[in-house]
Amino acid sequence: MDILYQVFVDPFVQMVDLPDFFLQVLWEGFVSGVLYALIALGFVLIFKASGVFNFAQGIMVVFAALSLVGLYALGLPAYVALFATIVIMGILAFAVERVIFHHLVNQPDIILLMATIGLTYFLIGFGEFVFGGDPKVMITEELGLPTGSTAFDVLGGLVILQHIDIAAAVIAILMVAILGVFFSKTRIGRALRAVADDHQAALSVGISLDQIWVIVWFAAGIVALATGIMWGARSDVSFALEIIAFKALPVLILGGFTSIPGAIVGGLIIGIGEKIGEIYWGPLVGGGIESWLAYVIALVFLLFRPQGLFGERIIERI
């Protein structure tokens, strides 16, 4: 009886008891959801456009952020460094296409996945070689991003909003909107989806895989940069960030690998769900359930919709 009370009643009592705190939890969940969504967005871009599950997205985030901070440390002004980093991501996209995917047309998904894992290894080694392993501080202010926080008196308590978090949310939503339109409304967007379905057939109708891949990898690179800036501002820039990328997996899966809005909705469900779960139910089992709760949430959704919330229907026909 007691246990039932603790599981089914008490958490809600707590929520009502401290409504300001509950709001804060929701906000934190929202913010981490947005950040997860940003990482997931990079994955979705590449997956949607080429059927490649880009394992290297996490490391690209770190790589982009490190380049930015590193270039700034070399004495470049912040905006020049930002521009130079975008150029670097472009070069990376080009190199990735030339060296790797150009040769792996029409290979099974898992092979492409493996290739991105190889890329991950390479980028980690290369990144640490160039930038060193010590954590660096993100140049938030120099880039003109807001810092500081505002506290609101609501419901008899304080809700503290970090300005950088608000900026992150705005940027993420903008990106999702732009990319969403790009994919569904343009000629290139259609071609991208065709490539993801069947490389060989896409080639046969004259879609240039090379070009397409450079475009999406570049776009993913820019998303990675945005992600890197936002995450970097929250903690700092180091290779530890790479691990965060795993959080994007349940988001992706929940939203559906191919859906851009799915990334943001999935991100929010996961972000808010895991915060609430951790804060209100976590203590019952000793805390730390955040590490797997996201996956379990995703799993539950998947049992009802095996292709994720917004994913394309898995075609089963014979």
Binding site: V105, Q200, S204, V205, G206, I207, S208, I315
Partner: protein, 283 residues
């Protein structure tokens, strides 16, 4: 559809026109070790329809893929020989460049984009075109008049359409690129008899009205030789016989093995009593 009077181009006509495609003595190896084409040469005259015939595994698909440069995706390589399209070497050109230059392939086994709708599939065919939305719309309507069934199913995901519908979609998609040369791999496969005829009529129409050249890999020899001007017969990766379509139709061996009109009338499938190990041109 308006029927156009059609006569196979005469010998002089073929000779007069320069070949739009010529394949010279190519060799293809899969997976580094499996030699599949052993010196295949063939020529498609500008505005001609050439049929490529042969048993299963003879290498028809491989030949077409070699031309359209899709072998790379199957880990195959052209190791010898040259391929010229409109007088230019194209072995090292990427497939999309070839499409842009006007040579497109309809792949065997449909290969529609399963998650895209039929209409989106057709539109991807126009990817390389730069002549504006209106022209593309017009051609889309044209494809729909060729294949009314596609219009009915235009909003369905291609992955869920029937085999024949997918075949139509694949052909229609190729037409959308406004090609000068189409490599057709088994266009009639899985189509209802009526449609088979219609497809060949479309081929003929495009050939006559728009001057599109065709290289046609086909098992329906009867049809193929009826519409083509010239034919090549492939056996185990070699060209074993070639000639004017009319001439091939009269060839005794061709009649026996490909047309089924050996001596006298059509045999009934029921009457084929034994699996005769039949004579091959090679072996």
């Amino acid at each position: 559809m308006t029927a156009v009077e059609f006569a196979p181009a005469g010998e002089e006509a073929v000779a007069a026109k320069a070949p739009i495609l010529s394949v010279n003595n190519i060799e293809v190896i899969y997976d580094h070790v499996i030699l599949v084409l052993k010196g295949v040469s063939l020529h498609v005259p500008e505005g001609g329809i050439v049929a490529l015939l042969g048993a299963n595994g003879a290498g028809k698909t491989t030949t077409l893929k070699a031309v359209s440069n899709l072998l790379g995706a199957e880990r195959g390589d052209v190791t010898k020989g040259t391929i010229l399209f409109k007088g230019e070497r194209v072995e090292s050109r990427s497939p999309n460049e070839l499409v842009r230059r006007g040579c497109i392939q309809v792949m065997e086994g449909r290969h529609c984009f399963g998650h895209l709708t039929i209409e989106e599939n057709l539109l991807t065919g126009a990817f390389t075109r730069r002549d504006g939305g209106a022209a593309i719309r017009r051609d889309l309507e044209l494809v729909y008049t060729y294949f009314p069934r596609l219009k009915e199913r235009r909003q369905s995901q291609a992955g869920y359409t029937s085999g024949g519908e997918q075949q139509m979609c694949a052909i229609g998609r190729a037409l959308m690129s406004k090609p000068q040369m189409i490599l057709l791999d088994e266009p009639s496969m899985g189509l209802a008899p009526q449609l088979v005829e219609e497809i060949f009529e479309i081929v003929k129409q495009l050939n006559v009205n728009e001057g599109v050249s065709f290289l046609l890999a086909e098992q329906n020899t009867n049809m193929a030789l009826k519409y083509a001007s010239y034919g090549y017969i492939l056996e185990s990766g070699r060209v074993v016989l070639d000639g004017e379509a009319a001439g091939l139709r009269e060839n005794e061996d061709v009649k026996e093995f490909y047309l089924g009109v050996g001596s006298g009338d059509r045999r009934s499938f029921r009457d084929v009593k034994s699996y005769r190990r039949r004579k091959r041109w090679l072996s």
